[in-house]
């Protein structure tokens, strides 16, 4: 086959069987791969009402048809399952070179079923696939696990694994690959831990072929030229990383501060990408086939927070920074390193700490609850300590390890959790940027920016600029971004490729690679199909329009200071329009006609 390898690995952890299955070509054509195809298979195979941490859940590691090919910025894979954090579908994607290596070994996807009786890891060396004992690895942090596995398998193996957080079933645990890359969100690491699956190590020596070499090479060259020519994709992200956004978002008054109490942080510049580049950056890094290079190899020499590793990107710098009222970049970087090592999602970890600080300052939790640790905003030492406690479920960290909603709810105040569908929102204040709030509320995996990054248009002016404060035209914008991103994710491409290319270029790449003529309209329709399928699964899992909401704070408490002072989110004006444009009824249920059009009836 071209682009797709044509083979799926199905691993039953309960009885230890490993099967190779042919890819369903018809489904692959309609749902592309990665996020979309894994969602389709989850939809077909997994009862939405199961407990996410039970053996009935399935865990998909899925690459896309472009993953591993010679196109720029297409090195990604998705981890898909039912999320313990949201109860909705989880699809977290990660870069590095794990996804491409899986393709080179000959597989589009691995599906894990059941639960192993004792800790195991999966070792894939091309055709040779085996489950091995991982009891010696259990309890190890991510870097040590990776090193040990390489020593046991192959020194060039690509390793995806969980850390202590995933083993201890933290609802905000990530799956890490190659030490510093994360499938971070929605607690996919906990699902891996619940299956007693510590890691996957893979070596592949095969290749990925494309259907039309000339057309594909031309499309790849065109895409690369456009990304390189773009001020963000070609220059900005390499120089300053995504953390360049700290100053940009602060300058438009939409940098959530102290658990979204405010939208402006006066000393934010100390935590931005410019400061990072000046003080801590060793060199930019790129995932497989990446020509953007937002990755940050960084170092902290300050003995209190010393270390060397990957990050932070923008969301992490904001979360451990402004959202916790902290402007100590060394501490922020250290917190990021700890998340990588322990296998924690940086966004949910940081914002859960911010939530705890908010609860503490409001007097809802006290020193008695925290074991004597003062949780005031701005306390960098405590923030770093809490990350360790959360990853290891120690002391008060145990209460925080399942995210901000569970923490706040346990003290009777879930409204302090800045989350949608119980997943923490990232670093763009919906009061200052209207469209992103509508996206947060409707995102199929809860609070998340990378499913409909309207910030590109509302703040960065890419490819066009819309007023950040207006609600007009935003439902349409959100839908376009959500559909485009669903299709893009499913190819294996990186979202940042959209700083340079869009549906036209991705459709051309996909057509050249697969030999199936995808028009831009076909590509966007595939995205809409995937979005609606995820929605249907969530509705079957018991979610409803009651979950398409934002925290009350964002609807009723205006931003206090800065350029967006006085603003609140006007979600309720936009939501009915969004439903209508999507072809959904007033309760957010897709109409039979729309499902029919999308081939989902």
């Amino acid at each position: 086959m071209n682009a797709w390898t044509g083979t799926i690995l199905r691993v039953n952890l309960t009885n230890g069987t490993i099967k190779k299955e042919p890819l369903d070509v018809k489904a692959a054509r309609a749902f592309i791969g990665a996020r979309g195809l894994a969602a389709k298979m989850l939809f077909d195979e997994v009862d939405p009402n199961i407990d996410a941490l039970s053996p009935e859940n399935k865990l998909f590691f899925a690459a896309g048809p472009l993953t591993g090919t010679f196109a720029p910025n297409v090195g990604r894979y998705d981890v898909v399952c039912k999320s313990p954090l949201t109860g909705a579908i989880a699809a977290s994607n990660s870069g590095g070179s794990f996804g491409p290596e899986l393709k080179y070994a000959g597989y589009d996807m691995i599906i894990f079923e059941g639960k192993a009786p004792a800790p195991v890891y999966l070792w894939i060396h091309n055709d040779q696939v085996e489950l091995r004992d991982a009891s010696a690895l259990w309890g190890k942090e991510v870097p040590e696990t990776t090193d040990l596995l390489r020593a046991e398998t192959d020194e060039d193996a690509k390793v995806a694994c969980i850390g202590p957080a995933g083993e201890k079933l933290s609802f905000i645990a990530s799956v890490m690959n190659e030490m510093g890359r994360a499938a971070g969100r929605s607690g996919v690491g906990a699902v891996m831990g619940s299956k007693n699956l510590k890691a996957i190590a893979v070596v592949g020596t095969g290749g990925v072929s494309v259907a039309d070499k000339d057309a594909f090479a031309a499309a790849a060259k065109d895409a690369a030229a456009k990304i390189k020519a773009h001020p963000v994709g070609g220059t900005g992200l390499k120089a300053y990383g995504t953390d360049v956004l700290v100053n940009i978002l602060n300058s438009v008054g939409s940098l959530p501060t102290r658990n979204f109490q405010d939208g402006y942080f006066p000393t934010a510049d100390k935590t931005g990408g410019e400061a990072l580049a000046a003080n801590n950056l060793l060199r930019p890094r790129g995932c497989h086939s990446c020509i953007i290079e937002c990755g940050r190899a960084t170092k902290v020499t300050n003995p209190k927070f010393a270390g060397e590793g990957e990050g932070p990107e923008y969301e992490s710098a904001w979360g451990f920074g402004a959202d916790c009222g902290i402007d100590n970049l060394d501490a922020i970087i250290k917190a990021n390193f700890l998340c990588n090592d322990l296998g924690l999602d940086t966004i949910s970890t940081a914002t859960t700490i911010a939530c705890a600080m908010d609860l503490y300052e409001a007097g809802i939790i006290t020193l008695k609850d925290t074991g004597g640790i003062p949780l005031n905003f701005g306390n960098a030492e405590v923030m770093v300590e809490l990350v360790k406690m959360m990853g290891n479920r120690e002391g008060f960290g145990d209460k925080m390890a399942d995210g901000s909603w569970r923490l706040a709810d346990a003290y009777g105040h879930p409204e302090y959790s800045m989350s949608c569908k119980k997943q923490e929102m990232p670093a763009y204040d919906p009061r200052g940027v209207q469209g992103i709030g509508l996206h947060y509320a409707t995102s199929n995996r809860g609070g998340c920016h990378v499913r409909g990054y309207t910030i590109a248009v509302e703040v960065l002016g890419n490819p066009v600029k819309m007023d950040q404060h207006t609600t007009e035209g935003k439902p349409d914008l959100v839908i376009t971004f959500q559909n485009l991103t669903a299709a893009l994710d499913s190819t294996g491409a990186c979202l940042f490729a959209t700083f340079g290319i869009g549906g036209d270029e991705l459709a051309a790449l996909l057509s050249g690679a697969t030999g199936i003529p995808y028009s831009t309209a076909d590509f966007m329709k595939a995205g809409e199909r995937i979005w609606n399928l995820e929605r249907m699964w969530n509705l079957a899992a018991g979610l409803s329009s009651n979950d398409d909401v934002l925290p009350e704070r964002l609807l009723h408490e205006p931003i206090k200071t800065g350029p967006s002072k006085g603003e609140v989110s006007h979600l309720n004006e936009m939501l009915p329009v969004y439903y209508d444009l999507r072809g959904w009824d007033a309760n957010g249920v897709p109409s039979a006609e729309r499902l029919e059009t999308l081939g989902l009836a």
Binding site: F70, T205, G207, S209, I291
Partner: protein, 159 residues
Amino acid sequence: MSKVIMIYPERCTGCNMCVLACAFTREGEARPSASRVHVYNWEREQFSVPMLCQQCDDAPCVAVCPTGAMHRPDGTIVVEYDVNKCIRCRMCVQACPFGNASYDMVTNKILKCDTCAGAPECVAVCPNHALEYVDVTVSTRARKKSFAKKFKDAFQEVA
């Protein structure tokens, strides 16, 4: 021909575009094991080093080749490989001190950089100029300076 490919590891981000370009251009598919350039990654240090044929003046691969398949045409600085003369004894693979010649089982031939007849694709796609195709005199000088700097940096770190 008077140009060679120079490696600048300090600029490499580990993206492997050179590897993909080589495999795709020369063998028609994205198969890293079919590449004549390889990137070695140190994840803890987050450092990457691309490796490819150095076109040695006194090339061990040429010296050990029993058939003349691995040869340097008169007046050139690039060591070339003639697949028709090759008997697949793989002596060149063993002889290369850098591991820059390899045997590909899929195509049954030796893989070694020949600078794409003067238009190396790996250099063209590298987003960071970690690979450069430069005049041999400049490259010699740059290489010496680069190594001198490494010594300097190493001593500075110790001191």
